[in-house]
Symmetry: C2
Subunit: 612 residues, 2 copies
């Protein structure tokens, strides 16, 4: 099996365009804001293992993972420049982690501080999940700072985990209830070269779904954490969608490291099931609130969409690893779809607030308080908030934005694949690539490759793109344009980027007879606040007549199209003859990721089609 390599984000400087702005807000606003929220809610204090009954802010079993992801984010931001205050806060947290590591290597502020007798007793209790996040943080911290204290702490913990799970089998379970450690151990192996960590990851992958210790009577419970069948027999994406994609990421890592074709095939099957049948047009996954889970093929309800921000992130993790197995465009397309839509909607434009869930439709009239009313308790929140009790998403957002450069490339010895179009400067061996672009504001991408003579640059022509020009000779193959590089090659790629309407497969009931507006990879939505009439009854005219506006206050242009709304929206009888047809109106769309940044509003991604 051929192995591809990543060009890690720290070899890449994002020096302009869409993501530079996002990274700036991430560094300057979001990360300090998350620090404050996590401090205020006791997440950092919890590390001191000093909580006692009667004190406020009782630690939660997964607080360690929140802090860990935040430290990981700081590490990533440090790669891009100093942040002394945040660095200090992270070091202080690491001090506490070090101080409260048990003699045997165990680390968990909740179990050490609150329920020491329950260590390794409850599969669902997130111990290995927290351990995994701490490992990822430690690896990142080591790379960013060169200081190996945290890494050594986590190696001791990993060694202890190996002893408990592989050697003794002394825990009450064999594999974690919430996956994460599998992919983290692979990263720990990469950072240390210690193959036992890779083997331990493989151990968790191999035993999931087959260990009698982990068996649960209830089918829902088995499926919820992907333990219903062993890894290599998995065919459909099931259960909690974040757990699922963390797991599949670990599976893909192990497939790659061990050249395990059966495991790779399972990964591709699972990816295809998601991308072809269980993914929102926004790249969101996990349609059901109940269990934050996948349900069945084509069940993608718009208004009660769950689509946790972390799930879109987890899909990016998974797809990135699939690209390292096999650089197929579909993986990069899915990453792009999630990045610009269902992931980015998870954080407010000002960087301070977060969505846990990301619906595709909001009807204000369905949200009301009334004593005789409970049917819509499943409706997602309409506004982002600064912190949730379960705040996995905020530090997951910060670490992905800070490391978004990771998604640009994969390479092997003679080929460099450019999967995402982000303005940057990359060091590639002794050569470099510079990309200048405002993508996805427009489709013009200027690439300069230097010192890469003899290599081939494979440029992804996105699945959404129907027309493009390339200023140099190329060969098209499976969605990539292959360009042979000279010592210095200047390339101008122009992806034609008109607004367009998409439809969903007819089995997606909530999109049936409807269309969504996109431009490039960006899904648009209609929000009440931009339109002078109620949008609940709006339809979009097709064939599309769209005007891309100059207005870029929301980060990307708004788009105006022709649509229709009911002719009279004023006071009318409850029911009356339809004497007036829907009237033409301009509809003003905004990028989906920007919805709910200007107060509560009706919102639609999918709109009925009015033939014009």
């Amino acid at each position: 099996m051929k192995k591809y390599e990543s060009i890690p984000f720290y070899e890449i400087r994002i020096d302009g365009g869409f993501w530079q702005k996002r990274q700036k807000v991430n560094r300057e606003v979001t990360m300090p804001s998350v620090l404050k929220q996590f401090t205020d809610t006791g997440r950092f204090a919890a590390l001191r293992c000093a909580w006692r009954d009667g004190m406020p802010n009782k630690p939660h079993i997964f607080y360690d993972s929140d802090v860990a992801k935040w430290i990981e984010s700081v590490a990533y931001a440090l790669e891009q420049g100093p942040m002394p205050e945040l660095e200090m806060a992270a070091e202080k947290a690491i001090d506490e982690i070090e101080k409260h590591q048990c003699a045997d290597g165990y680390i968990n502020s909740y179990f050490t501080g609150v329920e020491p007798s329950m260590r390794w007793k409850r599969r669902w209790a997130h111990e290995l999940y927290c351990a995994g996040h701490l490992m990822e943080a430690a690896v990142a911290w080591y790379h960013a700072t060169g200081r190996d204290r945290f890494l050594k702490i986590m190696c001791r913990y990993a060694d202890y985990i190996e002893k408990v799970f592989r050697e003794e089998g002394s825990a009450a379970f064999t594999t974690p209830g919430h996956e994460e450690i599998e992919l983290a151990l692979v990263r720990l192996y990469y950072a240390t070269g210690e193959k036992r960590y890779l083997e331990l990851s493989k151990f968790f992958i191999d035993h999931r779904g087959s260990s009698p210790l982990d068996w649960e009577e209830n089918e829902w419970a088995r499926r919820y954490n992907q333990s219903h069948v062993p890894a290599r027999e998995q065919t459909t994406a099931e259960g909690h969608s974040v757990r699922a994609c963390y797991y599949y990421s670990g599976m893909a890592d192990i497939a790659r490291e061990y050249g395990d074709a059966e495991l790779e095939a399972a990964c591709e099957r699972l990816f295809d099931n998601i991308a072809e049948k269980r993914m929102y047009v926004t790249g969101g996954i996990g349609s059901s609130t109940y269990g934050e889970a996948f349900t069945i093929d084509y069940d993608l309800p718009s208004e009660i969409a769950y689509t946790e921000t972390c799930a879109a992130i987890a899909l990016c993790f998974f797809a990135r690893r699939m690209l390292l197995l096999n650089p197929k465009r579909k993986y990069a397309d899915a990453i792009e779809r999630a990045l610009y839509n269902g992931f980015l909607s998870g954080v407010s434009l000002d960087g301070r607030e977060f969505f846990y869930t990301n619906p595709l439709e909001i009807t204000l009239a369905h949200h009301f308080e009334h004593p005789s009313y409970k049917e819509r308790e499943w409706l997602p929140d309409m506004q982002r908030v600064e912190v949730f009790s379960c705040s996995c998403c905020p530090p997951n957002v910060t670490r992905l934005i800070a490391s978004v450069g990771d998604y640009i490339y994969t390479q092997d010895t003679d080929m460099v694949y450019m999967h995402q179009y982000i303005a940057h400067n990359a060091q590639i061996g002794s050569g470099s690539i510079h990309v200048s672009t405002d993508y996805p504001a427009n489709g013009s991408i200027e690439i300069t490759a230097q010192g890469l003579l003899g290599k081939t640059l494979a440029l992804r022509i996105p699945g959404w793109c129907r027309d493009f020009t390339l200023s140099v000779p190329y060969v098209m193959k499976e969605g990539y344009a292959f360009v042979t590089l000279s010592d210095e090659t200047k390339i101008v790629l122009n992806l034609d980027m008109p607004a367009y309407l998409v439809k969903a497969n007819a089995k997606v009931a909530d999109a049936s007879g409807k269309a969504a507006l996109m431009r490039g990879p960006v899904v648009y939505c209609l929000e009440g606040v931009d339109n002078a009439f109620p949008i609940t009854g709006a339809a979009v005219c097709a064939p599309l007549q769209a005007k891309v506006l100059d207005n870029c206050e929301l980060g990307l242009p708004m788009i105006e199209t022709t649509g229709t709304v009911p002719a009279d929206t004023e006071a009318a009888p409850l029911y009356s003859p339809l004497d007036t047809l829907p009237k033409d109106v301009p509809l003003r769309f905004i990028p989906y990721y920007a919805f709910a940044n200007r107060g509560e509003s009706d919102m639609r991604v999918w709109l009925p089609i009015q033939r014009s």
Copy 2:
């Protein structure tokens, strides 16, 4: 205050047309079928008060009401012809009721047989509700058979209730948790002339919402059974919609009997709130499953519509009483809307099965079993059933169909109002009116009035009707055509009855941008089974081009219109460019009341509008 009188159904013989067929199925199929179901489930056995722990079919607190409504139905059917078997079964039930009436007059098979110590202790426990239904049954039985045994039993019980509630105030509550006795006592007064029963009804009306004994801390609970404010201060329809309309019916009765203008004004306010803001286009009311309740103005969701069959019936009861206060067309319009739509959908075409809830939209794809799925637990059933554990609806359906003649007329000394167009022969004093019509299959109504010289016949021109012809001179006033009768007057009324589209007020979110197809008073729906393509994405073309088909298998003609559906419904990628516009197709609509008679199917009342 002027008082109008009813012309009761037993003065009327329905001798053709739409309702004769329904009454035949009601007599021959539905009533025997309900008898069997109620026998099999122990509802008749419960009257023996012999249930003991460990026996099957534990009696329920409201079983007496189920049996009572069934007896009432038999009485009504007996008025139209002998039914010896059913009459015998009713008499046997009355035997048991008589046998288990307590010495003090109390009757309740549940409390007498199962929890004797809890008599009058729990306001919610339906004792007075059951009493009311037994009174209604006794009044009906007396009229139909001339035998006064049951009536006397119920008078003894009413006397005892008067003692407990008015004289002693010895119950744990002042007014019933579930209204019904208020209107029943008025009927008992009409049957016996005993004014104390009318006064007792007024007592319950007057004390509701003001008795400290009935006060509940929880606002929801107070509103649920309309005890949040006293009758005369009520402004909006609140809480359990069946309770509400039974209560409002009693209020209207008391307003009429006492000439209580303040109470009448409250009734009209409540009616207007329902008819102008809280009623489905089908005449269904009570949009929320939670509490089977009204919610807020314009909250009329289609797919999770609750709209209990009994609530549509209760609305008919209420509106009929409003007509006796003031013969305004709006009341008759509401009755007609409910009768032909949200009421009639409650029973299958074959008369054997019942809906408790009557949704306006079914999307099969939303109904699936999956372990990770609970969000749609509020979705109504898609198929009717023979019996529910809470089977209030079936015998309510049978009694309304058997007495539908009650809704045709109101009169005063010199004026006869004809509100509904039903083929019949009515005895009116020494005169008669004969109506021959297939309405609502078409709008042609032939009326012959004999022996009514000097009277004026007021013919309702329905609110939906935009054009009509009348073969005799008339004066139009407030929706009625007034015709002066000679000794014999032959009248042909032709209500123009094209298919037409209606819209809802823009605040009805689920109907926004959509239209419903109607013809006359009949709401139509699109059902998957009649169409060669999935209807989930269907839109209806406007202006409407409709063809009324000959096919009357469902009781009324089907209607074919032009509509559109997505062009390709075959295998397609999950998302793809919208390259083909929705294509024209014929849409075949059926009367809404007939939906779900041919298996589970997608169904729509409201459809997006495609401009043609």
